[in-house]
Symmetry: C3
Subunit: 450 residues, 3 copies
């Protein structure tokens, strides 16, 4: 707990963004939270509309139900208006209006009366977390059901239960949003998040909230080396549709990317590697987290669970990793009503934002340089080095000299930071000084760089 | 001792081969045991004849004494009929007829009388193992000698000893046997064992016995992906002759191979690496032993001692490793009369057989696949995945999804098993399911595969 | 301390060089010690002249002040004749004549009277080592100063101090010496040492002393495989000048090299890696030190501090490492008057000499061989192997067989020593035996070898 506090303090002290505060992030999360999102339907469109208020260039696409993308087909669109269960005494014992997790996602319309035994087959609760409503969906096979707190389920008495689900499950569209924030290079950094879960905090709204704010921050920058592509998709089917429509361009342009999810609580920081590891996204993530939160947790691609499953799949193989707070599936509140607006916090969201911002800054700064002279440059005549060489005085220039020693056109800055055991952040100002002194030349990235 | 028992139980429970039982293996060992084998001579031919009863296609070759193969020349053929030492009291104190280890291999004919002191120069015994007759040979320099238990040697009293060795050492032939069990591919797996030691168990008969039974098992299979070449040679000179005559074809065709020796006791399992390590033979051996006997012992090529010395020599470099029970040179009974039919056991032989069978099955199954779609396939619509995605239910399909994630045309199944931390055996049924679902395509091995 | 003694004993017992004794090394150190060297000036020339007495082919070069080499310019030449400070009582409290460390290197001429406060700005002492005179220079910015023992500084009382520095700082030359000891190949081993510090032991005279003796030893050899280039330069500017004038040839010819410094005390042995590590110089150093002094200290290139900074710089990248006794900057006496003729010892110098000699011998012997036959050669018929193969007798030939097993034309002897876990020294006589038996052929180094 102590470490958590100090971690966040460190992060906040590095941030100076007037309206990009933790409070602002949490306010936006609070706006998005109540919407009943699912794979498709009005909840997704409403969410994308609220994001477009902050990112006006966001384009919202729609794909008709039944269209095929790779191995998948867009399912029917789902609209949920109301859903409840009335007990023998006439009381609404389960009511979608009180919490949208009560309805199993993609439940078909129902209007019937059942015995308790028959009803039980359609109920989901968690005996181990009796006060949590679980999150359940059934996208690809027709079904219906209700989720409820286990304590409430135990109170149900035998008798006739009236069940009503006022939903549509019929051909419509699947929506997703996309915005490109252009930079100097046509090479891109991809940020992908999902907009398909109902009222949950860390494992839903934290992703679009932080991604939106990263977009606002990126758009506010006077210059960007790379272009930034922000994608807001329903998980799995959305990223598959997106990849199917844009694969060639993505494979050509994306130099690094992150799936943005679970970036809102303040328990810990987490990193999940890309399929083959060691991409630029992985290296920047490891560098950023080592600086911001050295105790972060490392997960392998075997622990994957979100859209990295698609972005890193064989033949797609985009350089996509994850930087998270508490990783999906790893915290008890995951996929339940306990993952709410209290589970995500202003400092938690700001930490998630800051970690990803730091990854982006690292990618922007991670150039490859070559010293412009053979042998060591004479730093003294440029005022970059203590003129009087005596015992001890050499220490200050050590990092500068080490940096120069590995600016050989092969090591990029991330590799140099690793080699010389210096934080990446310490290299950036030194590079600036050396460039001003005309001692370093940038080695272009395969000719694509500006 | 407890582990030994349970290891063998595990192995036996995996076997279901009616006449390939441990008892059958030990019976054949008992038949081969009494023959007085050496580098050449009738013992080798008799052994090969008994193997041909089980592998009728075995071809027996003969090379004339004096022929040159690489740096070596086929030595004269040795026939031993009788050999004994009679003490001053007229008693046969050493008698070849009671144990064929009593005669030094390749002893020249002798018929003389010596003092005890003169005789001592020709006697070999083991002070540390006073009840064991050692195994000694002198193939490449003319000599003669007797081996005896040290306790018996100490009983010899001064006096005149009559020594008689009724042997021939004269131009003849060197024999070896070879059989090819063809498969769908002309690529081959090589199994090489030796047939040149007199009555010893683990370090002689276990090798030809297990190799013969592997041949019978392979021949009984309805299909084989690879062809199998079984070679029964006198150690060292035999494998050198064999390599010399077949080098080009072996280098072209052999994808993996094992020297089969010391596969009969039930103390432990052992693996000895090929010269450069990491060949298909090494990888399959490590996978098989990790499954069957996780506590197996690992030896480096520096611990080599059998025909891997030739198969892995520079310029030959066949992908040949060893899977053994107690490794030669590492057990006290090695190269003595204590390495007998009690030292090798039915469970010991069956374990050796099963481990090599498992290596072969692994090599047969170790294909390289590529998922047939981009992004994850939709397992749900194929009934391969729980349709209802809720907390916890994803666990069952984890290995399937991990396998798919690394079926990228680069990782073969052995590499995938390593990456995803799953036993190779668990991947095989999953591959079958996925192939039936037409989700995987095999990537051919350099165009040679069927 | 005990280990130190035994280490040196081991080393001495391996040496048999009549006039290359530790005493002789220390005598030459004693001759070089009193000279007041600096970057330039008569001290350097006097030192080079004394080296030329032992290496008559040494050529002394001179570069005019102001000439540009890479990023550097040759500074003015400095001559120091006298320097002292007289206290208010008329006593010479600091006197260059008593110790040449008293004057800051490159001090400009001064003839003035100052208050104690004004004088203090020009004084250097070490509060933590109150009895040591520190070593201070100011090569590239005009300045002056005195170094003194801190105990003496504390005794200075307020009043008027007369300061006199009788020096010249004006256009002249920078000198360095160079000698090539030709070998059979035009490929070269580079030994570079520096001749620019005043009276210090380990961090000055040990370098030129050991390098000179190595040169004498090399010149005395009946044959050398490689040519040897010995370079005596003022540190930093000297190696930069040298590289600037000879870069193309050095990059073409140098196969390995060492900066020779700090090779005179007897506390420990040290190794400092080249920039990218794993060059022939690194591998030979690691092999030599593992044999001579297994407890040696390993330093990374990040700990660099001498002319390896230039030789290993990006784009220069010569294969240059360091083998030292106590590494510069790592012992308390470093850069003070305590690094004197007692700090370096006959056994210390002989150890440094022997370690580098062993590196050179290793490089000379480190050839790549290929066995001349396929499969194992028959050692028995050549008398290289016990003819009677019985339990235990195989041990003696083990290293020979292991060596042969890896003489595949890819592994050089250093790589083989590593692989088979044998000291390099043990391989050399075996290679000789095998070559006499015509079993090994040398694989030429990229066609350049004799």
């Amino acid at each position: 707990m102590d470490t958590r506090v100090s971690e966040n303090q460190v992060i906040e002290s590095k941030l100076d963004l007037s309206d990009l505060s933790g409070a602002a992030l949490h306010r936006f999360a609070t706006q998005l939270f109540p919407i009943c999102r699912s794979l498709s339907g009005p909840g997704v469109r409403q969410t994308l509309a609220m994001i477009r208020e902050r990112l006006p260039d966001l384009e919202v696409r729609e794909m008709a139900s039944g269209m095929k993308f790779f191995d998948w087909r867009v399912p029917d669109e789902w609209t949920i208006r109301d859903a409840y269960v009335v007990d023998p005494q006439g009381e609404r014992v389960i009511d979608f209006k009180t919490h949208n997790l009560h309805i199993v996602g993609y439940s078909e319309p129902v209007d019937t009366t059942l015995s308790l035994d028959e009803l039980q087959d359609h109920l989901f609760s968690l005996p181990d977390q009796p006060d949590a409503i679980p999150y359940v969906t059934s996208y690809y096979s027709r079904s219906w059901g209700f989720c409820l707190r286990h304590v409430d389920r135990l109170r149900l008495r035998p008798g006739a239960y009236r069940v009503r689900i006022d939903s549509d499950l019929s051909p419509g569209v699947l929506n997703y949003g996309e915005v490109l924030i252009p930079g100097e290079s046509c090479e891109e950094v991809l940020l992908s998040t999902y907009v398909c879960h109902p009222s949950m905090g860390n494992n839903e709204v934290s992703g679009p909230v932080v991604t939106t704010f990263l977009g606002q921050w990126l758009a506010s920058l006077p210059r960007r080396r790379f272009s930034y592509r922000l994608v807001f998709v329903p998980e799995t089917i959305g990223s598959i549709v997106y990849l199917s429509r844009n694969l060639e361009a993505l494979k050509r342009d994306v130099v690094a990317g992150y799936v943005v999810t679970c970036v809102g609580d303040d328990r810990c920081y987490s990193y999940l590697a890309s399929r083959l590891g060691n991409t630029l996204a992985d290296r920047a993530a490891l560098s950023a987290l080592s600086e911001l939160a050295p105790g972060f947790r490392r997960y392998s691609f075997l622990d994957r669970g979100s859209d990295e499953r698609q972005y890193c799949s064989p033949g797609v193989d985009l350089p996509v990793a994850l930087v998270m707070r508490s990783k999906y599936e790893e915290y008890p509140e995951y996929h339940t009503s306990l993952d709410d607006l209290r589970f995500i916090t202003p400092t938690g969201l700001l930490g998630g934002f800051t970690a990803l911002k730091r990854c982006i800054e690292t990618i922007e700064s991670n150039r490859t340089y070559k010293v412009d002279c053979l042998c060591e440059p004479q730093l003294g005549k440029r005022g970059l080095y203590a003129n009087l060489s005596s015992k001890g005085s050499a220490d200050d220039s050590k990092t500068m000299m080490d940096l120069i020693a590995y600016c050989d056109g092969d090591h990029d800055l991330l590799a140099i930071a690793d080699r010389i055991g210096a934080p990446f952040a310490r290299l950036e100002p030194i590079v600036e000084v050396l460039q001003r002194a005309k001692l370093l030349s940038e080695v272009p990235r395969g000719g694509v760089m500006p």
